[in-house]
């Protein structure tokens, strides 16, 4: 006999979210629930849906950056002024940030970075390899905690708890979103 959901099931009639596909929207919702009101970014294909969600949100201020370390300084200033910021970048951008990360690390200012990984899974561009391989080690060397997420569900849960550790426990955290989830870049 085929089992069916009963009317008492709270999920009845509502499809479970497909987080493999829709993790960016669920991540956006998690960051909104954490009261994030500022987002800065250097564009990345893996972050495109999340970037669009924030840009279209009139309650969130967004800054497009010329280089990723600007976002670290802006996020520190935003916290000084009383609002929570998230910085979106690709793994290659982490290398641009290293000295500027001394600012939130040394001032013990909450920082949340979401990093889409390159150079680790099905990568076709050899120029992405060095920084992709060095991303986690670089972050940890400067004093930023790096947390990896490999599935859509994993991304959402990791961002949710990282937001708590960043904004409430004064930590500097990067969530590294695995390239296996993002898929091979389409040309």
């Amino acid at each position: 006999m085929t089992s069916t959901k009963t009317s008492s099931d709270p999920n009845s009639g509502r499809a479970a979210p497909n987080l493999t596909r829709d993790w960016p929207i669920a991540t956006y919702n998690a960051l909104k629930a954490a009261n994030v009101r500022h987002m800065s970014f250097v564009p990345d294909a893996g972050h495109s849906t999340l970037i669009d969600c924030f840009i279209q949100d009139p309650d969130v201020i967004t800054n497009v950056l010329t280089t990723e370390e600007e976002g670290i300084a802006i996020a520190t200033g935003a916290w000084l002024g009383g609002i929570r910021s998230v910085v979106l970048m690709q793994s290659s951008g982490v290398g641009n940030c290293i000295n500027m990360l001394s600012l939130p690390v040394q001032t013990r200012t909450p920082l949340l970075i979401l990093v889409t990984m390159r150079g680790e899974w099905n990568e076709f561009n050899p120029w992405q390899m060095p920084m992709g391989q060095a991303t986690q080690a670089s972050l940890e060397a400067i004093g930023v905690r790096a947390l990896r997420a490999e599935t859509g569900k994993d991304v959402v849960e990791t961002v949710e708890q990282a937001a708590t550790m960043a904004y409430e426990a004064d930590q500097q955290i990067a969530v590294l979103i695995g390239q296996r989830l993002l898929g091979k870049k389409q040309w």
Binding site: T66, E69, A73, G77, A78, L80, L103
Partner: protein, 199 residues
């Protein structure tokens, strides 16, 4: 050969004194090195946020504060070398269009902290023209201390966007006046000044 007419003579501390005497509640962020000492010796307050490192970060920290506190004016006081490291940041600030962010560059055309090596601004790079090209609402380059009086008045006028002013100051290493080096202390008192919880 460079004539004496082109060598800046403005006293940086006298200029900063004037700017801070007329700050009118502005929040102040300083770039590392001499600008931090100049602002500190003018009078330490909870509304000052001094950088001791993170070179290239001052104007962008200022942007973050300005976006978070739209009803307060933010004044970044930094040096030519520090702002040169955030060349692209001027583009980011111009695109962000904050109406409450003013950047003051104390431009002695040298890296004073490291042995007075010549910087780009003594070799033809004019940061006020760069900011103007980026789309800043108002920019200027000041050569004389008397001009700072007019600048103080101009800064009280509402801005249509970010403003940047280069003050050509004498290249000299004045006695240091050291702000607190404990970064969390400075952060917490700045936030407390704004009525924000310290943790």
């Amino acid at each position: 050969m460079v004539s004496d007419m082109n060598i800046p003579t403005m006293n940086r501390r006298a200029a900063v004194d004037k700017l801070l005497a007329e700050r009118d509640g502005a929040l102040v962020v300083t770039g590392l090195g001499s600008p931090s000492y100049d602002v500190h010796i003018a009078g330490d307050t909870d509304a000052n946020y001094y950088l001791w490192g993170a070179m290239g970060g001052a104007a962008l920290v200022g942007l973050g504060i300005a976006l978070a506190q739209p009803d307060k004016r933010v004044m970044v006081i930094t040096g030519d070398g520090e702002q040169l490291m955030a060349f692209g940041g001027l583009a980011t600030i111009a695109v962000a269009k904050p109406q409450n962010l003013d950047i003051i560059v104390l431009d002695n055309q040298h890296y004073g902290e490291t042995g007075m090596q010549s910087s780009h601004t003594g070799q033809g790079i004019d940061l006020s023209k760069i900011a103007e090209a980026c789309g800043f609402a108002k920019t200027d380059q000041l050569m004389e201390l008397d001009e700072v009086n007019e600048l103080c008045e101009a800064l009280k006028e509402p801005a249509g966007g970010p403003r940047l002013f280069v003050l050509k100051v004498k290249a000299e290493n004045l006695p240091r006046s050291l702000p607190p080096r404990d970064a969390t202390y400075t952060k917490n008192r700045f936030r407390a000044h704004l009525g924000l919880p310290t943790c």
